[in-house]
């Protein structure tokens, strides 16, 4: 079971955003975002593309100046030297110089800290053994991502910020990636990550904050969030009427259009068993897991 233990409740606050707003020329990227992160906690910012996750990350790193609101990173202003010393960062787009070997890059980053992690132990943790003396340009996509990860850990950060960290990793690399993070989280590191993959959030996060349209739509444990947004839509052709469909076990929301039903449910198996029993002519069956975008959109509509 990959579910993490719940975080220590009394941990110190590593990160806080309150009422953060940011407007770009055309769009309002953040409209009053609040969040906090404590030591030993993993918080996933989950949301579809364009929800404002990356803007939030850039704001708390001091890369984007916000229009309003308060941000504190390790007790200091975002982008301040104190904040930079204690944070480890993996950006979504963060190329490293092609011509330098992995060791060159790590050695350079090590020079920023009085007591950096040892390069060999980082290489082991990030599965870069044997890659240390290869140039960055010669690495595969996944290896590049792991080199960036190693770089984020050089300073033994208390706060790790990961923007879409595993987007270029294969499944095996992901699990070792999360194993390396869990070890540090157990020792008190706090992690903020962005993702548009609920399964990924579920694998590591203690808490998930769902973002849409620049603010927090809601937050909770991964299980709570899954229950909220993870449903299926069952489509079929039926002779049942809308009332009968709505009475099916597990049916959350029913749409009936000229004998074609679309039923939202969190228990598709249960619903289908009942529907098939009630209607022997049921045909043209399709079960679709909605994309995160659709689930969040439905949530937004319900919230409105």
């Amino acid at each position: 079971m990959s579910l993490p233990a719940s975080p220590p409740r009394a941990g110190a606050e590593l990160l806080s955003l309150s009422g953060v707003r940011k407007r770009f020329a055309q769009t309002e990227a953040l409209r009053g975002l609040d969040l906090t992160l404590h030591t030993g906690e993993v918080l996933a910012l989950l949301g579809p593309n364009g929800a404002g996750k990356t803007t939030a990350v850039r704001a708390l790193l001091g890369l984007t100046r916000v229009d309003a609101g308060q941000i504190r990173v390790l007790g200091s202003a975002p982008g301040s030297f104190a904040a930079r010393l204690g944070q480890g960062v993996m950006l979504q787009v963060g190329a490293l110089p092609d011509q330098l070997t992995v060791r060159d890059q790590l050695r350079l980053a090590s020079s920023y800290y009085a007591e950096p992690a040892s390069i060999d132990s980082l290489a082991r943790d990030c599965e870069l053994d044997g890659q240390l003396d290869r140039r960055y340009e010669a690495l595969s996509g996944g290896q590049k991502r792991r080199a960036q990860f190693a770089l984020a850990l050089v300073g033994n950060p208390r706060l790790l910020i990961l923007d879409e960290p595993t987007s270029a990793l294969d499944v095996g690399a992901r699990s070792s990636f999360w194993a390396a993070i869990r070890r540090r989280v157990a020792a008190g590191m706090g992690v903020l990550l962005t993702t548009h993959d609920l399964a990924e959030a579920e694998a590591v996060a203690h808490r998930v904050l769902v973002m849409a349209q620049g603010r927090a739509l809601g937050s909770g444990t991964p299980a709570e969030v899954r229950a909220r947004i993870d449903g299926s839509v069952v489509h079929f052709r039926t002779s049942l009427d809308a009332t009968a469909l709505a009475a099916l076990p597990g049916a959350d929301q029913v749409l009936l259009d000229q004998g074609r039903a679309s039923v939202h449910t969190r228990a598709p198996e249960q619903l289908l068993r009942a529907a098939l029993a009630a209607d022997a002519t049921l045909n043209d069956l399709e079960v679709i897991r909605p994309r995160l975008e659709d689930a969040v959109e439905r949530w937004l509509k319900e919230a409105a």
């Binding site: 233990a5 220590p8 941990g11 110190a12 030591t39 030993g40 790193l61 001091g62 890369l63 984007t64 100046r65 982008g79 030297f81 930079r84 010393l85 204690g86 944070q87 960062v89 950006l91 787009v93 963060g94 190329a95 490293l96 110089p97 011509q99 330098l100 060159d104 890059q105 050695r107 350079l108 980053a109 090590s110 020079s111 920023y112 800290y113 009085a114 007591e115 950096p116 140039r135 300073g155 033994n156 950060p157 208390r158 540090r184 157990a186 020792a187 008190g188 590191m189």
Partner: protein
């Protein structure tokens, strides 16, 4: 789970005082990385080193046979070395910054605790290292096949002028790199580099040019850079104070504009 917090090295309390490393080490590592980046880019390195050398061999040595060939070889050593020193400063800085702005490396640098200015310092050091390297290549050609003899003092002055004179062009490159995207920066640097070299009298001696061109040259930093190096190798006698002041003024102007452009790339 809670028992794990007892691991001494990783307890949060032990990490609260994460300290920065000694700045000097960071500066040196950054400069080393910057030099390696350029050194390992053959497409950039070879032309940077080869073109000034080839031009010098052709125009300064082979075509300058005759009574005053030694003097020509001396004169051209000074101007082609300046031509060669400007290249890495303009390209390395200009194109380098523009690329690292667009591929996210500059953002990454801004979230890491490197000493302030060490990133720019490293690029300036790279420009100086390659200026000196071009200078060394040309000096070797001049003394071996060009028949040029320089005193130790002249050689010291020559390298000093090349290293320091590259800095205003590094600042110019920085400005271009902060204002433009990578592709555009390459084009603009080309547009700036070659005219500066030709009009500044670095490719063909200034005294062979028409009067109007000579007047224009006096307004170009490349001309003054060249004059200083001509003094260093002994082709002009008397320190060209005016060129020194003019190049210093250009340096301050470019630095000011570059600092503004660099500031603008934040946020």
């Amino acid at each position: 789970m809670n028992t794990l917090t007892a691991i001494p090295t990783a307890a949060p309390e032990a990490q609260i005082g994460v300290r920065a490393g000694p700045p000097l080490r960071a500066y040196l590592q950054e400069a080393r990385a910057e030099v390696l980046k350029v050194w390992r880019q053959p497409a950039f390195l070879y032309p940077t080193l080869a073109f000034p050398s080839l031009f010098y061999l052709l125009f300064g040595v082979l075509m300058a046979r005759g009574a005053s060939s030694g003097e020509t070889a001396r004169y051209m050593l000074a101007t082609y070395a300046v031509f060669g020193a400007m290249g890495p400063a303009l390209f390395g800085f200009g194109v380098g910054i523009a690329e690292e702005r667009s591929n996210g490396l500059l953002d990454l640098k801004r979230v890491l605790p490197l000493p302030p200015l060490s990133y720019l310092f490293a690029k300036a050091a790279m420009a100086m290292v390659f200026a000196v390297m071009v200078g060394l290549l040309l000096l070797t050609l001049a003394t071996t096949v060009g028949g040029v003899r320089l005193s130790a003092l002249s050689i010291a002055a020559y390298f000093l002028v090349l290293g320091l004179g590259a800095l205003p062009f590094a600042a110019l490159g920085l400005m271009i790199g902060c204002l433009l995207r990578a592709q555009a920066a390459v084009a603009v640097v080309q547009l700036v580099y070659l005219p500066l070299a030709f009009l500044g009298g670095l490719v063909f001696p200034i005294f062979l040019m028409p009067k109007l061109m000579q007047t224009i040259a006096a307004f170009l930093p490349s001309f003054h850079f060249g004059q200083l190096n001509l003094w260093a190798v002994g082709s002009i006698s008397g320190f060209p104070l005016r060129s020194f002041l003019a190049l210093s003024a250009f340096a301050l102007l470019f630095l000011f504009l570059a600092a503004r452009a660099y500031k603008r790339t934040e946020n």
